[in-house]
């Protein structure tokens, strides 16, 4: 069986898809049911839990960016709703 997604670190609040995941698909992750809100292309990320605007987006157990909008569990996570923390800090 194929893996549909991968979570690199247990502290991560987003997962990376390893296959195209369709809208409205429901995934059981860590005993939670997560309904995918938009199609997630291969290699893209979706939120595992709600991430409010201004909060950290975690992958590899580290901060990869800050939410610039409220993100709901199952939302596609990309540059439309997160931005670099590093670039803001080093401006």
């Amino acid at each position: 069986m194929k893996n549909k997604y991968i979570i690199i670190n247990i502290e991560d609040n987003c997962a990376t898809s390893l296959d195209k995941i369709l809208q409205d698909e429901v995934l059981e992750i860590h005993n939670n049911l997560i309904k995918i809100k938009q199609e997630i292309p291969f290699g893209h990320k979706f939120a595992l839990k709600n991430i409010n605007k201004g909060n950290q987006v975690i992958k590899y157990g580290e901060i990869i960016g800050i939410a610039i909008k409220d993100i709901k569990a199952g939302d596609w996570v990309h540059l439309h709703n997160i931005q670099s923390h590093y670039l803001e800090e080093t401006k």
Binding site: S17, D19, H44, K45, Y60, G65, Y86, L87, T90
Partner: protein, 393 residues
């Protein structure tokens, strides 16, 4: 023996996983002399390069350090150095520095021998035959992984590398460090965006400051050329593939170095001053990078590749691990460990790292990598600053 490998004991407590005699040219002019000597000797390699004369300052220093480091690597039993006689990087200078490793070293210049290159090649073969016979007397013995220096490399990366092969390698790097060994992460341009994380992992304040100043100096210098490095990463292709921020991209790269504390930051080809995880200042070109790792004393290198790279290294075996199912299929002969099962077979990163760990032990014990089997053994020396650093425009 619980966890260890069979290697060759060298002087100064070092251990090799290969047992070759190196025929080293001090200058490009005698590359073919060195190569033709090596061609006649079993169990030998020719270390040749396009440099060795007309170089000055830091450019020359880096060339010397790299050639001395390669020849001093414990995978090499002994060294025969061939010079021409009029070059500024002399065979004698290299011999004196390589002798510090206490391994057998001999040298001569072609211009000092009556009979030209024909006589010089005969002389080299004679010395080389004696040296390879001595090398063959040495047998493998058991050692633990505290004796291993592991190089971490990636090349031909894709969006899959950072979430499959790289974290699997990170587990191995942490394991080597935990067992008292050493691991080196090169390719410093690919740390940009994660300085703060690397600094948090630094062993002390000085190391943290060095990480910051190294990257800041680079960013400022390249800014003078009109390039904002931070603005060009990730590339549009990366973003289309799912990578969002520069942090995310760089985290995928440094995932190869696991979570261990950072002991220090090394110059190109510089030997680590102790055990544990080290960073190395070094360009992003794989062959130059792995040459620097071998010169720093890494006996083995693990290289992750997504799109598929054939490259190896003359001194240190390069184990290739790939997470891309198509590459593992199409370029299977160039891949040692298939990490694509994370995608295709519901395997975990930990499952793949267990396979990689076994492969690492097998390669240390003498099994050949795919690059060794296929004869890929590139070296290239990083030229830090051209000897003539002016523009022709």
């Amino acid at each position: 023996m619980s966890d260890g490998f069979l290697g060759y004991q060298r002087a100064k407590g070092l251990v090799g996983i290969r047992n070759k005699v190196a025929i080293l040219s001090s200058v490009v002019c005698v590359n073919n002399v060195a190569q033709q000597i090596s061609n006649k000797l079993e169990n030998s390699i020719a270390i040749t390069h396009p440099l060795g004369c007309g170089q000055f300052g830091p450019d020359l220093t880096y060339t010397i350090n790299t050639l001395v480091g390669l020849a001093s690597n414990p995978n090499i039993y002994g060294v025969v150095i061939v010079g021409l006689g009029c070059e500024n990087l002399t065979s004698k200078l290299l011999a004196n520095q390589i002798k510090r490793s206490k391994k057998p070293v001999e040298f001569f210049n072609v211009q000092d021998i009556k009979g030209g290159t024909i006589a010089a090649i005969e002389k080299g073969i004679k010395i080389g035959k004696r040296m390879t016979a001595e090398a063959n007397e040495i047998k493998r013995e058991p050692f633990d992984f505290s004796n291993l220096v592991l190089g971490l490399e990636c090349g031909g990366s894709d969006s899959i590398s950072g979430i499959t092969a790289n974290p699997a390698v990170g587990i191995i790097s942490d394991k080597i460090v935990k067992l008292g060994g050493t691991s080196i992460l090169p390719e410093f341009t690919e740390w940009i965006g994660t300085e703060h994380l690397l600094m948090e992992r630094a062993n002390n304040e000085q190391v943290a400051e060095k990480i910051q100043s190294t990257l800041n100096n680079f960013l400022e210098n390249i800014m003078k050329l009109g390039i904002d490095f931070r603005g060009i990463q990730p590339t549009p292709g990366n973003i289309q593939g799912g990578l969002s921020t520069i942090e995310e991209k760089s985290l995928g790269t440094i995932a190869k170095a696991g979570k261990a504390p950072i002991q220090g930051i090394l110059n190109y080809s510089e030997k680590p001053k102790g055990k544990g995880l080290w960073l190395m200042i070094e360009p992003g070109l794989d062959v130059e990078s792995m040459t620097g790792l071998a010169a720093a004393g890494a006996q083995v290198i693990i290289m992750t590749t997504g799109r598929g790279s054939p490259v190896g290294n003359l001194i240190s075996p390069v184990i290739k691990i790939c997470g891309n199912p198509k590459t593992c299929d199409w370029m299977g002969c160039n891949i040692d460990v298939d990490a694509s099962k994370i995608i295709t077979e519901n395997k975990k990163i930990e499952d793949v790292s267990a396979i990689l760990w076994q492969k690492l032990k097998d390669i240390c014990n003498g099994e050949k990598t795919q690059a060794e089997i296929l004869g890929f053994d590139e070296i290239a020396i990083w030229r830090v600053r051209g000897t003539f650093p002016f523009s022709l425009e």
